[in-house]
């Protein structure tokens, strides 16, 4: 079957090999504690990656979503504090909507002025971050002020256990939210017309228009989706780390894009899958986190991420070139 020749399979194999290697260097890799920690680290980057995946399938790129995430998180937390609101659901809805609205802004510029997404999103990201820091504030909302219900929500674990050293650890329930969103994204990309229109637009924008897709709607959807996921992930991040920092996520967009590229999505559009992205996210998080386990100085993290991006893209480029011959 073609499934065995698909890039997801290759990524999965590389991932397994990497896991075995890391496990050989330090068996502590396989400890439940470490695995649970890894999975936890997947959540935020993973949710954002789903949004970036959709953008990339449409043939675009987005570097503004981290700014949206921060804005959604900070504004929502500030709002909760201001109104003394104590629920959980509504804040997440609000954060998602903030992200969505900002995403609509991206779509508007990209569609109306036909400018390349990279440059538009560089601009919108800078606008949103600048406004947030310049008008709303630069102070961090710390654990003592952070709404406790958010923290409690993010503290929910699926499994609890105690490590050999006596510390408690568990598998965060947030991983379910991540996997749920991944499933929804997958179903939606595969089984809805708008999902297919994203693939069609990414493959041949002009043809998509001629066939009768409403490409404005497609683009609007794509960037709103990425914005909404980023907004949601932003507030979730605040809840999981117990603070709302308006300077959070600086440079994080590169990690997310790297994860999506690792997952086999094409920057030229039209190709990419949720499963690949899940694997790509896991691979990136695992390598980054395992540097400590492998006794590599953490200052090397960025170098490693960079090498992974270059390596993965070089591999894809090499694979695609062979295809052409």
């Amino acid at each position: 079957m073609t499934i065995f020749r698909r890039s997801e399979t290759i990524i999965a194999v590389i991932l397994l090999v990497a896991m075995v290697l890391i496990g050989l260097i330090n068996p502590a890799f396989w400890s439940l504690d470490n695995i649970f920690g890894l999975l936890r680290s997947n959540v935020i980057i993973g949710i954002m990656a789903l949004g970036v995946l959709v953008v990339m399938i449409s043939g675009g790129i987005d570097v503004s979503f981290t700014a949206f995430a921060v804005a959604a998180m900070y504004l929502t937390v500030k709002g909760m504090l201001y109104f003394g609101y104590e629920g959980v659901l509504l804040p997440f809805v609000v954060a998602t909507l903030i992200g969505l609205a900002l995403g609509a802004f991206n779509a508007f510029f990209i569609h109306t002025f036909r400018m390349i997404p990279l440059i538009v999103t560089l601009g919108t990201g800078s606008v949103v971050r600048g406004l947030l820091l310049g008008l709303v504030g630069t102070s961090i909302v710390n654990i003592d002020k952070m709404p406790p219900q958010l923290i409690n929500f993010a503290k929910v674990n699926l499994v609890n256990s105690t490590s050999a050293t006596g510390t408690n650890f568990g598998l965060t329930a947030m991983i379910l939210i991540y996997l749920g969103l991944a499933l929804v994204t997958h179903l939606f990309l595969r089984y809805t017309m708008i999902g297919r229109s994203i693939f069609a637009y990414g493959g041949a924008p002009e043809a998509a228009k001629r066939v009768g897709f409403d490409t404005r709607k497609t683009l609007l959807f794509v960037y709103c989706f990425a914005g909404a996921l980023a907004g949601f992930a932003g507030l979730l991040q605040g809840s999981m780390i117990w603070q709302a920092n308006p300077r959070d996520f600086a440079g994080f967009e590169l990690d997310v894009i790297a994860a999506v590229v690792l997952g086999g999505a094409s920057i030229f559009g039209g190709r990419g899958s949720v499963i690949g992205t899940l694997l790509g996210v896991f691979m990136l998080v695992m390598v980054k986190n395992s540097l400590i386990i492998m006794k590599v100085d953490t200052t090397w993290q960025r170098v490693v991420v960079g090498v992974i991006i270059v390596g993965a893209t070089a591999l894809t480029a090499w694979r695609d070139r062979k295809k052409l011959v």
């Binding site: 790129i61 510029f109 109306t112 002025f113 036909r114 400018m115 390349i116 990279l118 440059i119 538009v120 560089l122 601009g123 919108t124 990201g125 800078s126 606008v127 949103v128 971050r129 600048g130 406004l131 947030l132 820091l133 310049g134 008008l135 630069t138 600086a250 440079g251 590169l254 894009i257 790297a258 590229v261 920057i267 030229f268 100085d297 200052t299 090397w300 993290q301 960025r302 170098v303 490693v304 991420v305 960079g306 090498v307 992974i308 991006i309 270059v310 893209t313 070089a314 480029a317 090499w318 070139r321």
Partner: protein, 331 residues
């Protein structure tokens, strides 16, 4: 007649340049009107001539990458790495050795060579990845940008490197016949690049390759080599900017000038560079640079925070995109 033809040659048939000049005058008038006392002081313009060059050189570097339809997201990483490498070098040689002016000068020279060398090398890596391995420029330079910044972190361990020699300080803060050294360097770099792009086969080849890479191959242009050279030039210029930046602040840090990336892209695009390749002029980029420097210095005088200035730059980029889109539909 010769006058008008010279003017024509410089301005070209470029309506963009005229639009830019108009924007610049508008910004100038607006700022002078809002805050005549502080904005129109000599000191203000002098300080602009110190701050502007590093960004201007980065913007020109960005333009060169865009000429072939690429982009270089690693320029800030290269700039910082260059400054830090020189800083590390000074630390390792200057501490404990004699501090005679001759030696200092020698070390400064060696430091510059190292910084520029690493810039060339970084550009070579980018160019190799893009032209030989055929990685998309966005992804290639996204990755190498991480590598360069990461190496800078590894070299410093995080905090800023300080303690550059006096000669280094002169590059960032000195004066040559009453004009800021960085500004002199900027004029030299801008002039050299302008001549390189318009008067040499290399420059013309870049424009042609950017216009249609496939046709370039059939026309017998050495496409891969030219793209490689163009990224080397971009890297070299980024390193020059890094030297000026570390000279001006007398320090080098892995996360300096993070907002320069956006600003360099903005200035390049605003200056009439086509991000899809084939079009771009140093003159346009320089005027765009001046307009934006006036804008941000004016807002600084009005006590806007740096964050709000980031906002204004981003907003400016979006407005320019919109403006260009409207202008193109005119035709």
């Amino acid at each position: 007649m010769s006058d008008s033809s010279i003017a024509k040659r410089i301005l070209g048939q470029d309506r963009n340049i005229l639009q830019l000049i108009a924007i610049t005058i508008l910004v100038f008038a607006l700022m002078s009107w809002l805050n005549p006392d502080k904005f129109l002081r000599y000191y203000n313009f002098e300080s602009i001539t110190y701050i502007m060059p590093e960004l201007g050189i980065l913007a020109i570097a960005m333009m060169i990458a865009m000429l072939t339809g690429g982009i270089d997201l690693s320029v800030v990483g290269i700039a910082n790495l260059a400054g830090i490498l020189a800083g590390v070098f000074f630390h390792s040689v200057i501490v404990g050795t004699d501090q005679s002016t001759g030696m200092i000068l020698l070390y400064t020279g060696l430091g510059i060579l190292m910084a520029l060398g690493i810039g060339l090398l970084a550009g070579l890596l980018n160019g190799f990845l893009i032209s030989k391995l055929r990685i998309t420029p966005i992804l290639a330079t996204l990755g190498t940008g991480q590598i360069f910044t990461g190496l800078a972190v590894v070299l410093t361990g995080g905090p800023a490197i300080t303690g550059f020699p006096d000669g280094w300080n002169f590059i960032g803060n000195g004066k040559i016949i009453g004009v800021a050294t960085p500004f002199v360097l900027f004029v030299i770099v801008a002039g050299a690049v302008a001549v390189l792009l318009t008067r040499t086969t290399f420059g013309v080849n870049l424009m042609l390759i950017g216009t249609n890479p496939k046709a370039a191959v059939f026309a017998g242009l050495r496409k891969d080599r030219m793209i490689l050279y163009s990224y080397m030039l971009t890297g070299l210029l980024a390193a020059v900017a890094g030297v000026i930046l570390s000279g001006r602040t007398n320090a080098a840090k892995s996360d300096y000038g993070a907002s320069y990336l956006l600003q360099a892209v903005l200035i390049a695009v605003l200056g009439g560079t086509n991000p899809a390749g084939g079009k771009g002029r140093v003159l346009g980029v320089s005027i765009a640079l001046i307009a934006l420097m006036l804008l941000s210095s004016g807002f600084q005088i009005l006590r806007f925070s740096n964050h709000l200035i980031d906002f204004i730059w981003g907003g400016f980029l979006l407005i320019v995109i919109a403006l260009n889109a409207f202008r193109n539909t005119d035709r």
